[in-house]
């Protein structure tokens, strides 16, 4: 992104201006238009902030928001662990890889939300179902990217490792996983957005608590500002996930991103 062409660098006020200018402008337009022509469908900014506070900071935080976030977190962690473990196993075995490739490509192509009615049927409507929905829908990008990453480990590195007698866990820890990590992170990024979608959808189906349920409830009762505040909560979760991912990516892939930048500059 813009980081790679860090020319002179802007001064601090300019940077603040750039990052706040457009959002402030947009909020001003929103505010003005809702004041000039009030609409049933769009609350004014202060109204939204107030509703947001009243709705989500209180009992709902414990009954609806927290359980959803916990389920999401469990689902994501399980997805990543399972995806990477299976991916490493399948990726290191040539025959297994060829055997599973088309079937996995098919599973990946199935739009994950259709799994919700299926899993409701099999597991019933409960927390396990919601977590299984997240895992079974979001695992494919992690799994397939890990397989691809493990497969394409640089052959010179593999041979060097073999020459030095690096096998077993050390090989996995210092050769295979680092070499596959850029691809794994690509898969993880894709899995995050799918997980969030699936968390919401799994709660919109025959549920009685959770974020997805609450937002639909607001919409059905025409509680429009509350509904918008729910959308805002989901947006904030999405943004938080993306920030956590960026932070982790910089830690995990620092060496890789640096290497690429050097290559690009040459």
């Amino acid at each position: 992104m813009s980081g790679k062409k860090r020319r002179k660098g802007d001064s601090l006020p300019a940077r603040i201006g750039f990052s706040l200018g457009l959002p402030v402008l947009l909020i001003a337009i929103w505010w003005l238009s809702t004041v000039v022509s009030p609409s049933f469908f769009v609350p004014t900014p202060p109204e939204l902030v107030q509703t947001f506070w009243e709705t989500w900071v209180g009992p709902r935080f414990h009954t609806d928001l927290l359980p959803s976030v916990v389920r999401l977190a469990i689902g994501i962690v399980a997805t990543i662990v399972l995806g990477v473990v299976l991916g490493v196993l399948i990726g290191s075995n040539r025959a297994l890889r060829s055997l599973t490739e088309p079937i996995f490509e098919f599973f990946r192509a199935v739009p994950p939300p259709v799994l919700v009615p299926l899993l409701i049927l099999i597991i019933g409507i409960n927390d396990q179902m919601r977590i299984v929905v997240i895992v079974s829908g979001a695992i494919w990008p992690v799994l397939l990217n890990t397989v691809e990453g493990v497969r394409s480990v640089d052959s010179v590195l593999t041979d060097t490792g073999r020459t030095y007698g690096i096998t077993g866990f050390a090989r996995l820890r210092y050769l295979v996983l680092p070499a596959a990590s850029p691809r794994i992170m690509t898969g993880v990024r894709q899995c995050l957005s799918i997980s969030l979608i699936l968390m919401v959808i799994s709660e919109m189906f025959g549920s009685s608590s959770g974020l997805g349920f609450t937002i639909v409830l607001f919409q059905r009762s025409f509680a429009v500002p509350q509904m918008w505040s729910g959308i805002a909560v989901l947006g904030l979760i999405g943004i938080a996930l993306s920030l956590i991912f960026q932070f982790t990516e910089r830690r995990v892939l620092g060496w890789y991103l640096g290497q690429r930048e050097v290559q690009r500059d040459q």
Binding site: P23, L26, A95, L99, V110
Partner: protein
């Protein structure tokens, strides 16, 4: 040679093995048939579906939402991506806003879509466009940022006008990125099309799946889920095929052919 042949062959074996296990598990009573019907029953039902008018109507409804949504979002994203990407000022000014809006899951817009449009095509379109727009926009912006400054300066010194520079310098650089974005967006658009049908009840395959689930028609539900997966695979193939055709001159594709 034999090693190269064994790849696809093993894949076929894998599919057959999977179907065999799927057939055996309910047959042996490991899982009850009302949870997992036999593969032969489901596939038989799918074949029946293929001969039915209603099924194809649903497929058409889903695909129309997918195509229209994708077309609108790609057009908007390409135009905006080129404009924003070409200007340093715009790129900096929009960055925070884009970073803020992009991670918002489009399913958050479901209640809004219901409120505004109800169970109609427009609802699906709203979700599809919001979800796929960012994929393409970001890729196009990456693409514009990737234009080789030497090529750009050379074109300028040779006196190429704006239109010619866009055509011969900017476009070829952006195209691979655009197609990557298109590939991601086409998959996401299908997910959101099905989601909208499933949750909001816009007409299409997802709606049929929801109906069958509510009615306890398990075999039908499995058959339709397989159908959506096949559509996903076809879309994937289609986009990759297009990528290969359109980018036949590009080193990433040429390298693949040589290998």
């Amino acid at each position: 040679m034999s090693a190269r042949l064994s790849g696809p062959l093993l894949g076929l074996v894998g599919i057959l093995l999977f179907l065999l296990i799927w057939e055996a598990v309910p047959r042996l009573g490991i899982v009850q048939e009302r949870f997992l019907p036999r593969a032969s029953t489901v596939l038989g039902r799918l074949v029946e579906y293929l001969g039915q008018q209603d099924f194809w109507t649903s497929v058409r409804e889903t695909m129309v939402a997918w195509a229209v949504g994708l077309l609108i979002s790609v057009t908007a994203a390409v135009v905006l991506g080129l404009v924003i990407g070409s200007s340093e000022f715009l790129r900096k000014a929009t960055r925070s806003t884009i970073e803020f809006l992009r991670p918002i899951p489009s399913v958050a817009l479901i209640p809004l879509a219901v409120l505004l449009y109800g169970a109609k095509l427009e609802s699906s379109l709203l979700l599809i466009i919001y979800a796929s727009f960012w994929q393409v926009l970001l890729q196009v912006m990456y693409g514009v940022a990737d234009v080789d400054p030497v090529a750009s300066d050379t074109a300028r010194s040779y006196g190429l006008g704006f239109a010619a520079r866009v055509r011969y310098v900017l476009w070829p650089t952006v195209l691979p990125y655009l197609l990557t974005g298109l590939r991601l967006a086409s998959a996401v658009a299908l997910i959101l099309a099905i989601t909208a049908e499933l949750i909001i009840g816009s007409p299409g395959l997802g709606y049929q799946i929801g109906l069958n689930q509510a009615g306890g028609a398990v075999v039908e539900m499995y058959a339709l889920i397989i159908a959506t997966g096949m559509i996903g695979v076809l879309i994937n193939f289609g986009v990759r095929f297009m990528e290969r055709r359109v980018l036949s001159w590009h080193s990433s594709v040429r390298g693949e052919l040589l290998a």
